[in-house]
């Protein structure tokens, strides 16, 4: 067996969807090229951008940082990073430490923001409460709020997240299956919000399968936090993911075709289902909100904080 590109007999990956067999160097190059192609095709970066990377220390965010750094080295963009510490014992600290080391290695501006400092409560403490809404509900909303705020404070022009092909396809299928057309229109490579307080979010890895990102960080010997959150459990997303992976065994191109199909109808969906979001403000924190309180503040009030 030898590399389909260079003939090197030391191969590390067989790409099911194309039949390609790759050596380490050609594999690494293929991932970086793929992300750069997405960035160019979807016009994710503009010269002079200051991109805030949402850096958890996991494989997806570290890969996002690594790929965007090649643009920084060529003086096309500037990069900064934010890490959210949700306060999850025996889990989060390792990721935070890894994020700090990557930021130091690259010499970029980096902030670690904890739920405790920001809201006076950790996710672990929320989970001690009775009648909580489930860890991931709070985690997602608080994380998003903290990242949006950090982007404004650090004067970032874009926020880059590590969403990969699997995440994106799960999102498409989940929202479709749930009939959640509102959220369905919000997916895609670049989210632009009407409210100017919300910084544009970009997903440079959305065409790369999760497995290939895992192999990429191991091949490049990038330090990442491989672990599962103690709160991760059977969720609808997990069930959808399992079903898609099962289909992908016999139909290796199915994730790509789902993404392509969505990309073709996305603009039609957006135009047809466009809603006039009221440009209200949260009465508690002043963040943009469609109701009297933003999501984060309505959770805080429920928690009596």
């Amino acid at each position: 067996m030898q590399c389909s590109k260079c003939g090197n007999p030391k191969v590390i990956y067989k790409r099911e969807q194309s039949g390609q067999i790759l050596c380490k160097d050609c594999f690494i190059e293929s991932i970086e090229k793929k992300a750069i192609r997405t960035i160019k095709k979807e016009k994710l970066l503009d010269k002079g951008d200051k991109v805030l990377v949402a850096l958890s220390g996991g494989k997806d965010s570290v890969t996002t940082l690594e790929i965007l750094d090649s643009f920084r080295q060529r003086n096309i963009i500037d990069i900064c990073a934010v890490t959210v510490d949700e306060g999850i014992a025996n889990y989060r600290q390792d990721g935070v430490d890894i994020a700090i080391r990557h930021a130091e290695r690259l010499g970029i501006e980096h902030r670690v923001v904890s739920l405790k400092e920001e809201y006076g409560i950790t996710l672990d403490e929320i989970m001690q409460r009775e009648n909580h809404k489930g860890s991931c509900t709070y985690c997602g909303v608080f994380r998003r709020t903290i990242i949006n705020k950090a982007a404004r404070e650090m004067k970032a022009t874009k926020i880059a997240t590590g969403h990969n092909l699997d995440d994106e396809v799960q999102g498409i299928m989940m929202n479709y299956l749930e009939g959640n057309t509102d959220n369905l229109t919000k997916l895609g490579p670049k989210s632009e919000s009407k409210a100017e307080e919300f910084t544009t979010k970009i997903k440079p890895l959305r065409e790369i399968p999760e497995r290939e990102i895992g192999l990429y960080v191991v091949a490049k010997e990038l330090e990442v936090h491989f672990d599962s959150c103690p709160y991760a459990m059977q969720s609808f997303r997990g069930e959808v993911s399992e079903a898609i992976n099962q289909l992908a065994e016999k139909h290796p191109t199915i994730k790509y075709s789902t993404l392509r199909g969505y990309d073709k109808i996305k603009n039609i969906l957006k135009n047809e289902l466009k809603k006039d979001y009221s440009h209200g403000r949260c009465r508690r924190c002043g963040e943009p909100a469609s109701n009297e309180l933003c999501k984060a503040c309505s959770f805080l009030e429920e928690l009596g904080l």
Binding site: I12, K14, K59, R211, G214, V218, F226
Partner: protein, 67 residues
């Protein structure tokens, strides 16, 4: 005919049960999905079709976690 398996806390010697015993066969025996694991043979990344040789050190790294 033996090899060393390293996976998470596991670090043990195992018998090679038959000729042409591949990493894929090992993953099946351990009931691990090839989709969530990458494998190294003597420190170098390899594909799952790789046949395990006498004295090999096989390291498995889980790259995908649920949740």
């Amino acid at each position: 005919m033996k090899f060393t398996l390293k996976y998470k806390q596991i670090n043990e010697e195992r018998e090679i049960p038959d000729e042409n015993y591949s990493i894929k066969d090992l993953l099946d025996d351990l009931e691990l999905s090839a989709q969530t694991i990458v494998s190294k043979q003597n420190g170098e990344l390899v594909i799952e079709d790789t046949v395990i040789e006498d004295g090999d050190e096989i390291q498995l790294v889980q790259i995908i976690y649920g949740g």
